[in-house]
Symmetry: C2
Subunit: 227 residues, 2 copies
């Protein structure tokens, strides 16, 4: 399948690497290809620059947001939450029309340092903002509640016995995404929370997630719903 | 131990019943004892009125907020979150001075119907508001992430293999509360998240909790952190 991934950070890289490895055609979209390739510093988490990652993933294409959105049969928003709406604007609403947009971003605000707060929450969410901005796109929120390495390999902790969630207004689109999550990454436990407004719940998991990461000293953990 | 419990709802009842059953002296505090005993309607969740509960728990004392706060060596805030600051005002700050206040409330706002939003979140929390209001009291936030019946009996789901959290500025007070949670209710998995501001994380779990309750059709579930 042709998949467009918006964003060049560690989440986009983890998704692109895995999806490319299992045989999908991947195009990553960025604001400015030259600038992305010129960057030589590590990111805030100490990850190497994109160009270095690219050397080991030469099958993954890198173009601008618009090209990647047009390329993908399915498009994934893996930009940082604060930049998502602008990135989707640059991607071109027409390129996303009728398509599934898998939104894995969180609206984290690091402007006041650590731990981050949320740019939007409680009576709204980033996923709802995106769905309102793209009324003809089927936005499905998922995978935003855990670390990128776990997103693509749930068996890395607890033998995969933990949960992720999906939120979205289009049931058929959500069902397709649930299928992708199983096929692509091996997810076994996926809870369909309901319409896109239920993404408020998953985005608002971030405040405890960042504190747990600090406490546990690792981002390699996930939530399991025990009944 | 003498324990004061502020609030007469289902959370206060569950805590009072359990703590009384294991031999503690319990005084529940309410705004107006006569009005509490006169109430004859079920609550929003279909629970019977307090007077009916009281018939089966006659050892539990019922007095006003002030009496219950003065009575308790440890005091538990189990009022509804929107009323907590007023209840603590009526309880009398002097009656809470130097004591541990276990805060199990959530600042839920039902004014716009279901699902509720939060009255405070993101850059503040109810627990922090309470700690600022009561600077000489050791506020420890805990148990606010699950149903009342599970609070007092974690083995009711998953053989108790799931987590609760504590937040607070006073390490000795938190350690004592962790001991209480183990001794009183049998909690095995308790994560100390850090200072009182980490209660933002647990209070912000409510939005996904209420949606999970709707989806699963039961409040009898809890979060497990899988590593």
């Amino acid at each position: 399948m042709k998949i467009g991934i918006l964003g060049t950070g560690m989440v986009a890289q983890a998704l692109a690497a895995k999806l490319s490895a299992i045989g999908h055609q991947i195009m990553i979209g960025t604001r400015d290809v030259d600038k992305t390739m010129e960057r030589s510093e590590t990111d805030a988490y100490g990850n190497p620059p994109f160009s270095e990652w690219r050397e080991n993933h030469s099958k993954v294409k890198l173009e601008n947001f618009s090209d990647a959105a047009a390329f993908g049969e399915v498009v994934i928003n893996a930009t940082s939450g604060g930049a998502s709406l602008m990135a989707l604007q640059m991607a071109g609403h027409d390129h996303l029309k009728g398509k599934i947009l898998i939104d894995v971003a969180n609206p984290l605000d690091f402007s006041e340092g650590m731990p981050p707060t949320l740019l939007v929450c409680n009576s709204d969410s980033l996923a709802e903002q995106i769905q309102r901005t793209l009324p003809d796109t089927k936005v499905v929120k998922t995978l935003n509640t855990l670390n990128a390495h776990l997103m693509v390999d749930p068996n890395k902790v607890g033998k995969g016995d933990h949960h992720i969630f999906v939120s979205g207004n289009d049931q058929a689109a959500k069902d397709k995404v649930v299928g992708y999550l199983k096929d692509w990454f091996g997810w076994k436990h996926i809870i369909d929370l309901g319409d896109i407004s239920t993404a408020r719940g998953t985005e608002m998991l971030m405040p405890i997630w960042v504190r747990l990461m600090g406490k546990l000293g690792t981002p390699m953990f996930n939530f399991k719903i025990v009944q």
